[in-house]
Symmetry: C2
Subunit: 366 residues, 2 copies
């Protein structure tokens, strides 16, 4: 079988039966030649480059699912140009959502994909047969010594992965280098003390140059994992960081994901994975964001789904979860998951250790 | 007067009177400490870092405008972290739009801003006292010689600025280097022939490394201007390109702008300008995108508005415009504008020269 020459892209379009055929044809043109067909005079372009409407299905009253076949040659093997062809100008139409993409292997191989993935993070942390635990260092505004002390407390409580809040950047109050050194030393001290393999995960954020420098610092300090928000640093830069500058697993943060216009399961579960995220933080239902249970579960399923040649990524539900909800989370997501509790641990104040310990125990089944 | 320590950020929130106070308080927390206040034990953080709700105004039934004061120290002088604090996690809430930002000078100076701007593009093209004209080379899929021939025709017709379609990347059919060489030579030949100062504008797109290489090629070939889509290449990389790798005016393309979640006048008129775009392409009303006249006009106003220390940018309305609408466009936008016609010129086929000539004549007032 020869490689396909089209990639199938699914859009959800909020228009009714009377207009959907015309709107689907418009999307096929907008995402390819971006020109009325009357202005396309080249036979090859008409046959091989213009987008093709493959199917139109009514999902509900006034909502249709449209599958368009786009010519793979237009993606030119590049992440930025790939997103340009998948959603570029059509993202400006309020009635269209980029819903799903069926990546042929010939396209997927141009995106990094997770290098460690779910299995790599299990190997790194030494956690097998149960869900992993994750907590966050915050709030921004605290000085380095307080963040490092919090890191030590959480590590001693047995949390597997302790990440920076995504709002911790390179602020004067807790500069990146000093913070990473102090927090990494804190987890290393606890490792020696307890024999655990707890990981501290610094948040890399900034211009491309700053990201490369931060990756260098994280490597020098011996951090076993790092975090970036693909939508903030830019999807192409995220992929380039993964491919060229990072030798440890990468945790993707959803900040700036604008997920309402790109279906969350596609963006967080599939695209972030294909960009090289080894673990993907996403919003769980019933927390402080309005995702449905179906949406949250679909993100996790996409992240872990069998995909030949692309490692499974570790789903990380988060966003206003509490210790009390841990059993329900485990029932929903199963063991191939990392549970991330943020504020609900830190709200314990002086009782942070006990609260974190309760979280850890519930997940460890003790 | 001392520098302000807060930046005022305006959100539009689709909730009614009964819930708006609570939702506004939630946004203030989400965009700062991201932690219940009960978990913030540090006095300085409570006083100086937690976001402040400055005002809540009802805009319409079920729609409120909320102004939040965010601590400038949390932005850490960086574009990625700036966007993280302005909209990061809140972008995941479907009911919230980032509506406007009032940039204090102390924040704006950390973003590049246009280096040439409206005045610089007038100087480059030699066009004074009237609107500029712009046309696009497309469709993708054509080989280099056909694109260069089209470029020559449009240049001979007197178009001021001829840009690549944003879908032209580095496809095998028309590779970047060969295309830029051929199109740049085409405009240079026409310049010698007619004495005009017509500009060819290549589309830079790809990974950060590819962008730097493309900028180098464009400079070597003598291109007087380049185009990038900030939302595709990533806002931080766009800013870094402007600040470090480009010595010519930059035209911003709206592709992947997801403008429905960030108010278009803010995203295209203000943020893209502050990121260093000298000219900003945006969607005009009444074309193939559903913007209102108010939205389109507001984008242009933001791009040109007086802003101490930040050059005015050149507004470039586009998106399904026709030659027939040129008088209305000129009436709307006035002379400090560049009008971009794409498909409506190319649909003329063999009559491309005459159609482009008619466009040029209408704008030149001949």
């Amino acid at each position: 079988m020869s490689a396909p020459d089209r990639i199938e892209v699914t859009y959800r379009v909020a228009v009714g039966r009377d207009r959907i055929a015309a709107v689907a044809a418009d999307i096929a043109i907008e995402q390819s030649v971006e020109l009325p067909l009357a202005a396309v005079h080249d036979r090859r372009v008409l046959d091989e480059v213009v987008g093709e409407v493959r199917s139109i299905t009514e999902v509900a009253e006034g909502l249709h699912q449209v599958v368009i076949g786009l010519a793979i040659e237009t993606l030119s093997g590049d992440v930025a140009q790939g997103m340009n062809m998948l959603f570029g100008n059509t993202s400006l139409h309020e009635h269209v959502q980029l819903f799903d993409v069926d990546f042929p292997a010939v396209v997927a191989r141009d995106w990094p994909g997770p290098r460690f993935g779910l299995a790599g993070i299990r190997a790194l942390t030494g956690v097998e047969g149960r869900a992993l635990t994750c907590a966050a260092l915050k709030p921004q505004g605290l000085p380095v010594d307080q963040l490092a002390a919090m890191c030590r407390t959480l590590a001693r409580a047995g949390v597997d992965v302790i990440k920076d809040d995504h709002g911790l950047a390179n602020q004067a109050q807790a500069p990146f280098v000093a913070r990473v050194q102090a927090c990494q030393r804190a987890v290393e001290a606890v490792r020696r003390e307890t024999g655990s393999r707890v990981q501290y995960v610094p948040n890399l954020i900034g211009s491309p140059r700053a990201l490369v420098e931060q990756a260098h610092v994280a490597a020098e300090e011996g951090c076993g994992m790092v975090m970036m928000a693909p939508a903030l640093v830019g999807l192409p830069m995220f992929a380039q960081m993964v491919a060229e500058h990072l030798r440890v697993p990468v945790l993707a943060h959803p900040s700036m994901g604008g997920a309402a216009r790109i279906a969350p399961p596609l963006l967080f579960g599939k695209l972030y994975r294909l960009l090289g995220a080894d673990a993907v933080i996403f919003v769980n239902y019933g927390g402080r964001f309005g995702y449905s249970r179906d949406t949250s579960m679909a993100i996790a399923e996409h992240a872990r789904a069998h995909w030949p040649g692309v490692h499974a990524a570790l789903p990380v539900p988060a966003g206003g979860m509490t210790v009390e909800r841990v059993p329900a989370l485990l029932a929903d997501y199963g063991p191939d998951t990392m549970l991330l509790l943020g504020g609900s641990l830190l709200v314990a104040g002086e009782a942070l250790f006990e609260r974190a310990r309760a979280f850890v125990s519930m997940v460890q089944g003790q």
